[in-house]
């Protein structure tokens, strides 16, 4: 496996300049975002998986300079995905996530700290995040820096002796720049380093085995114990003359497993009257496969690292999304508080270019390439207080 090298000197220079920016504030003080509460129902259905559940996000200012946030999220998962039906049995499980955050605003510097825990039967993830952002240059520029540390505990259901660990380190930086009275842009970077057990403990790879009637054998995946990645995202938001907004995002990603990907998104937000807001979204994503991925290995233990995870294969996906937000009349809200009801639907179509459907006809290694589509729905209520 070849490790992708990033230009560390450039990164150090970049971060140094960002820090210089943090100590040069001038102009008027910034404001914290307003208080709000959101209650959401989410659903994902596609590729034999059904995942749904509730989520709640509450944000409240304790003073002009301090705000707290709390987030609760539940995934109820029922899976009979292509990985599962080809080598194991369908399963159901739940994942619970909680986050607590604290924001502190001093003049033009916003500091935020958050803790997060995600809990499943066989996976416990805990992380800490710290972010600092600073308005500068007459508030035309905002610079941000962030760090995260995560610790994961991996188990395997049905095997009490199995317990593995992994750690994740994240460093990110961004610059938001107002370019004209109608156009603002953002450039952000994030480097992530993982170490430890990064496998899925259930998944297997397949290899040609002419000694058995089926002609195909299975063995556990083996992943490297480190993964380093770097992502760069460029975004632009443009205010159209008739009061509508256009959003553009482009992200480029590469990692030490030799996966490279890019995604591009175009979104449009259009108010209709005073109470309705329509959103349309198009997104395209494509990635190359990991260096150690193969749909069918030529024999058992064919190489040091082995993967047949379709998320590590060469594929692309295309999303079409639509959303509507309705500002509720006062008699349907709580007192004088403003509230909104929103519904969003995304249709995602996945096409795999080197992952075959082992449940299809055609013979081992000659089955048609796999593909599926997913419907993602979010229905939520937002209250501003």
């Amino acid at each position: 496996m070849v490790v992708t090298k990033f230009n560390m000197t450039m990164l150090v220079k970049f971060f140094s300049i960002l820090f210089l920016g943090l100590i040069a504030p001038f102009g008027q003080a910034a404001d914290l975002d307003p208080d709000r509460a959101d209650v959401l129902y989410h659903s994902y259905e596609g590729g034999g998986m059904k995942i749904d559940g509730p989520a709640i996000l509450i944000r409240k200012k304790a003073s002009d300079s301090v705000a707290v946030t709390a987030y609760y999220y539940l995934d109820s998962i029922s899976s009979a995905s292509i990985d599962v039906v080809s080598t194991a049995s369908a399963y159901s499980e739940e994942r619970t996530e909680g986050q607590l955050g604290l924001e502190y605003l001093h003049d033009k510097t916003l500091m935020s700290f958050s803790v997060r825990q995600s809990d499943e039967d066989d996976f416990l993830a805990q992380s800490l995040s710290l972010n600092v952002s600073q308005d500068t240059f007459g508030d035309l520029t905002n610079i941000s820096l962030g760090l995260s540390y995560g610790d994961n505990e991996v188990k395997r259901n049905g095997d009490d002796n199995f317990e593995e660990q992994s750690q994740q380190y994240r460093i990110r930086a961004g610059i938001n720049q107002i370019l004209t009275r109608n156009l603002t842009t953002n450039l952000s970077f994030e480097a992530i380093a993982d170490k430890g057990y990064l496998n899925n403990p259930y998944r297997t790879v397949r290899y040609t085995d002419n000694s058995i009637p089926s002609g195909v054998g299975y063995q556990s995946e083996i992943y490297p114990e480190t993964r380093n990645s770097f992502a760069t995202k460029l975004s632009a938001s443009y205010f159209l003359p008739y009061r509508a907004a256009l959003f553009f995002h482009y992200r480029f990603y590469s990692d030490s497993w030799e996966i490279e990907s890019s995604d591009v998104e175009l979104a449009y937000r259009h108010p209709i009257g005073d109470v309705l807001e329509l959103e349309l979204k198009l997104r395209y994503y494509q990635q190359s496969q990991a260096a150690f991925y193969s749909d069918l290995f030529p024999y058992q233990d064919a190489q040091n690292y082995l993967a047949r995870d379709k998320e590590l294969s060469d594929f692309d996906d295309f999303t079409v999304g639509i959303g509507v937000t309705y500002t509720l009349p006062k008699y349907l809200s709580f007192g004088e508080m403003r509230s909104e009801a929103s519904l969003q639907w995304d249709y995602i179509d996945f096409s795999y270019n080197n992952f075959r459907d082992p449940t299809a006809e055609g013979g081992v290694g000659n089955e048609p390439f796999y593909g599926f589509s997913a419907n993602v729905i979010r229905a939520f209520f937002s209250l501003y207080f």
């Binding site: 230009n7 450039m10 990164l11 970049f14 960002l18 920016g21 959101d38 959401l40 989410h42 994902y44 996000l57 958050s114 995600s118 996976f123 993830a125 995040s129 500068t136 007459g138 508030d139 035309l140 610079i143 995260s148 994961n152 991996v154 994240r170 990110r172 610059i175 720049q177 107002i178 009275r181 109608n182 952000s188 970077f189 994030e190 992530i192 403990p201 259930y202 990645s229 992502a231 760069t232 995202k233 938001s237 205010f239 009061r243 509508a244 907004a245 480029f252 990603y253 590469s254 990907s261 995604d263 937000r269 807001e277 994503y285 990635q287 990991a290 929103s342 969003q344 993602v376 939520f380």
Partner: protein
């Protein structure tokens, strides 16, 4: 590609943070000219709870991670 973008960012940062005075560049969009940018429809984080769900769904289906703009932090979806 990354090198090119990083160089561009360095130049932009230098101009906006350190070189402004010597080049006489002043903030060119005045506070009173920012009413369009301050319109709620221009907020990328207009629906933060929805953005967090979108990021979670994509994190589980795609290899790319980082720079989502929603915090991230690992999905625990093995």
């Amino acid at each position: 590609m990354i090198k090119l973008i990083t160089k561009g960012m360095l130049i932009l940062s230098l101009l906006s943070l350190t070189g402004c005075a010597s080049l006489s560049i002043k903030p060119w969009v005045k506070p009173y000219e920012r009413q369009n940018l301050a319109d709620p429809i221009m907020r990328a984080s207009r629906h933060p709870i929805a953005n967090m769900h979108v990021a979670h769904v994509l994190e589980g289906r795609e290899s790319a991670r980082g720079a989502e703009g929603t915090g991230g932090g690992g999905c625990g979806c093995n």
